[in-house]
């Protein structure tokens, strides 16, 4: 197995920093965490076609979200007074993104997530709303879900985010690690309240359970992460005294609820083959399937967690392609776009034929 040097350096550095922050007594060195976290400001000046600004959605909980929007040809330099100008396209996907960090680390303005969200904008021609949810251990379950829910309601009620086609906001939920877990639970709340979520994108989602699975035993400590670390994060997030079969952690476990007959959004779940919690992620996918829900699994055999943070691997491109397809499949394509697609497909076929001839 080999990952690129820079990915390895990045992930290792994170793991090292994280190890410094978790204390055996369950407390967290928040000051050092914030000091070490590399953050970037929002930027209303477009960079590579994307600009961003922060909105304080809920003053009481200090809930901030960072909004990322594509700069348009007509408006290459958005007016500061017009950051919330209505979207103009027929269909604009709005991706509500929940950053990772095992419920304890990182923020919406962490550099790694700011970069990722910017990529998502360009990739999906979407508006991305990155939620700065409250973190553990200072804020346990269900704070992160509550914040996600607040953000979802906020997004759903913004007139300027409504697609022209149907005057509705086309919402997707996405997240990595704990963010993936949050996306699932917020989607559940959405269903109960009748808000339409068009799809869930879960990157290495954080799930677990009391049982020790085969992947956990096999990969414990092998790629910078130990089972003990995961246990610590669950103890920090779950209500005190609860174990890992709590439905927040194990949605299809003994205390989970059935999703049969429920109109749950279609899901794209990305699992890294070197992630020690993969058995729980695969069990999640199975749970969705058993309940008759639409789900696509992307199993990246040789990938470690965090592989999508740097665009320098095949895994990265595979995943970004799938995400793009997942989100765009709901968009009405213009006839012109359809024609271009066909031509593109024909060209591919042509090249394949050529290569086959060449290789004999």
């Amino acid at each position: 197995m080999a990952v690129s040097l820079s990915t390895w350096v990045l992930i290792s550095n994170f793991k090292l920093a994280y190890n410094l922050l978790r204390r055996p007594d369950g407390t967290f060195n928040r000051h050092l965490a914030e000091f070490l976290d590399r953050k970037v400001p929002a930027n209303a000046n477009p960079v590579d076609g994307v600009f961003s600004f922060d909105v304080l959605i809920d003053r009481g909980t200090s809930l901030l979200s960072r909004i990322y929007r594509p700069a348009t040809a007509e408006e290459p330099q958005p007016n500061i007074a017009e950051l919330e100008k209505p979207v103009t396209a027929e269909v604009v996907p709005v991706i509500i993104f929940f950053h990772g960090g095992s419920f304890a680390h990182s923020s919406a303005n962490s550099a790694i997530y700011d970069t990722l969200c910017r990529r998502l904008v360009s990739l999906c021609k979407a508006v991305v709303v990155s939620v700065n949810y409250r973190r553990a251990p200072e804020n346990r379950y269900p704070c992160a879900y509550d914040d996600g829910w607040t953000a979802l309601k906020w997004v759903n009620s913004r007139p300027w985010l409504q697609s022209q086609k149907d005057s509705k906001v086309h919402i997707y939920l996405a997240g990595d690690s704990s963010g993936g877990n949050i996306a699932h639970h917020v989607a559940l709340r959405a269903i109960e309240s009748g808000i339409d979520v068009l799809g869930n994108i879960l990157l290495n989602p954080m799930f677990g359970g009391q049982e020790r699975t085969e992947s956990e035993k096999r990969l414990d400590g092998k790629y910078c992460v130990t089972l003990r670390d995961w246990d610590w994060y669950w103890r920090a997030y779950l209500p005190e005294g609860e174990d890992r079969d709590h439905p927040a952690c194990n949605p299809f476990g003994p205390n989970g609820r059935s999703l049969e007959g429920i109109k749950f959004p279609k899901s794209l779940v990305v699992v890294a083959g070197l992630d020690l919690i993969q058995d729980w992620q695969l069990a999640y996918v199975e749970g969705l399937k058993k309940a008759g829900q639409e789900v696509k699994l992307l199993y990246m055999e040789q990938a470690t967690i965090g592989f999508f943070l740097l665009p320098n691997s095949n895994h990265f491109h595979t995943v970004t392609d799938e995400i793009s397809k997942f989100v765009s499949s709901d968009c009405i394509k213009t006839i012109g776009e359809r024609i271009m697609q066909c031509i593109g497909a024909l060209l591919c076929v042509d090249y394949v034929c050529l290569f086959k001839c060449f290789l004999g």
Binding site: M1, K15, H31, D54, V55, M300
Partner: protein, 505 residues
């Protein structure tokens, strides 16, 4: 429900290699080298591609070493002081030294005793006694004082919006339109618009109303050429920060040094001697806590009026000099040669350390409209932050703060030339200026960060103020919008005043 799932496996490399887990975990691609450090730079880490493999090895080493340590031992590394996390190579190197135990003698100054220092501030009874750590050896660590290269040249516009109401947007539009009219010298239009702003503002509440009112007044002054009286410095430097330093000095192992404070302030309008008042109070405190203390006050309209000889600085062997400038440098940009003169005066004092606090804003650009726009956002954020929960009745302090800010707004918008003293510039520009003048950065570490955060929590809890580390400097901001930047400097080519840094933080 339609069942539709496909499984895609991605595999990028040779499975036969995976047998050795502890073997080579990464693949070096000589072509990717240059790109790699760019990719990491975007994520906030400065690593030269030539150092990448070395950093990776050190990380692996640390991982091995930490793996064999007790669980307790690792998080206690969190109690040492960290500097400049963007310099990954340096950070990892320091951690290795910490973990292995260094060759030099242990120095308690490099333990993170920021909580201890905070308790030294009179009146802070809120901190519980810290549990004494079972002696993990504290090794001395040299503060990293490499000068950081100046940041990217593209400007950033950080914006934080409160969940805005429709009418607020119209107000902002009108303010901008008025400023544009002024920029284009269309005074008739500007006049009409500024009256309209007044009307719109009166239907607003809270921060938006205040900000709009101040900006409208400033615009009116500019349009009608009714310039405000001289910007009065309310001497915010009432000496509030010195007791903390004095307490820390008093508790210094080995006894306190003698402390001589020279305060420089503007003449007061009402003939009171504010400086002497400060001096007396501090002298009382010094007597109480047992510090040999001397205070001198100098009255000057501008720092540029002072000559270093007037300050009677003793030679460095006898006296260690620290210079502290809180919002004092930007006014010097109003007169030609002002900043250069003061910086060279500072250098002549041979200070061990210079601390600078400035507004993190770009209010000194050449184009009026740009300055106006920047200021509108900056002060909107500032007023929003002062708004608070709205439950507590507005205090005297709040009213004073707003007045103070209102005067700044007036100065930025209505004045020009030497009258326009509120020439705020962002940290990137101050950095360049200081480095060009022959100073090197002294990095503020995680202990200073922690103290700043804790103080914020004490005095402004829950209001959204944050401290952020930025290349060795600390920024105070409201949520994600930086408002004030603090930095520390030493003369290039000299040793860092690391002990002073500890105490001054």
């Amino acid at each position: 429900m339609k069942r539709d799932h496909q499984e895609i496996s991605g595999s990028g490399s040779n499975p036969a290699e995976s047998s050795s887990i502890k073997g080579k975990l990464w693949e070096e691609d000589p072509d990717a080298g240059g790109m790699d450090d760019e990719l990491l730079a975007v994520l906030g880490y400065k690593v030269r591609s030539s150092d990448m493999a070395d950093v990776a090895q050190k990380l692996e080493m640390l991982e091995k070493v930490m793996g064999t340590a007790q669980e307790d031992g690792i998080s206690q590394l969190g109690d040492t002081v960290h500097f400049n996390p963007s310099d990954l190579s340096g950070w990892v190197q320091n951690l290795l030294i910490e973990f292995n135990g260094s060759t030099t003698t242990p120095d308690p100054n490099f333990n993170d005793d920021s909580e201890y220092d905070l308790r030294a501030i009179p009146g802070v009874a809120a901190y519980p006694p810290v549990k004494s750590d079972p002696g993990l050896e504290n090794t001395r660590k040299r503060a990293k004082t490499e000068s950081s290269s100046s940041s990217s040249s593209t400007t950033t516009r950080p914006v934080v919006l409160i969940d805005s109401q429709e009418t607020g947007v119209r107000l902002v539009h009108t303010l901008m339109a008025c400023a544009e009219a002024v920029q284009q010298d269309n005074l008739k239009l500007a006049d009409a618009l500024v009256k309209h702003i007044g009307l719109l503002a009166s239907s607003q509440t809270g921060a938006m109303r205040k900000v709009a009112t101040y900006f409208a007044e400033a615009l009116a002054r500019r349009i009608y050429r009714i310039f405000p009286p001289d910007s009065l410095d309310p001497s915010y430097n009432e000496g509030m920060q010195w007791p903390a330093l004095m307490q820390a000095l008093a508790l210094r192992p080995g006894g306190p040094p003698a402390f001589r404070l020279t305060g420089i302030g503007p003449p007061q309008p009402d003939d009171t001697d504010a400086l002497q008042q400060v001096g007396w109070k501090l002298a009382e405190l010094a007597e109480r806590i047992g510090i040999e203390f001397e205070f001198r006050g100098f009255v000057a309209n501008s720092l540029a009026d002072l000559e270093p000889e007037m300050l009677d600085i003793r030679p460095p062997e006898i006296e260690v000099v620290a210079v502290n400038a809180v919002f004092e440098l930007h006014p010097l940009l109003a007169r030609p040669g002002g900043i250069e003169k003061v910086v060279s005066s500072i250098k002549a004092m041979k200070p061990k350390i210079v601390t600078v606090v400035e507004q993190e804003a770009n209010h000194n650009g050449p184009v009026f409209l740009d300055r106006f726009t920047e200021a509108l956002h900056y002060y909107s954020t500032l007023f929003d932050s002062l708004e608070g929960s709205g439950v507590a009745p507005p205090s005297q302090d709040l009213a004073m703060s707003e007045l103070y800010l209102g005067r700044q707004i007036c100065n930025v918008v209505a004045c020009e030339g030497m009258d326009r003293v509120e020439r705020h510039e962002p940290l990137t520009q101050w950095r360049t200026r200081m480095e060009t003048a022959g100073f090197s950065p002294v990095h503020l570490g995680s202990n200073a960060y922690k103290q700043a955060s804790m103080l914020l929590a004490l005095f402004a809890s829950g209001d959204g103020y944050r401290v952020e580390e930025n290349n060795g400097c600390l920024m105070l901001g409201w949520h994600t919008r930086p408002l004030i930047a603090t930095s520390a400097w030493r003369l290039a080519g000299t040793e860092s005043g690391s002990e002073l840094t500890q105490e001054l933080s």
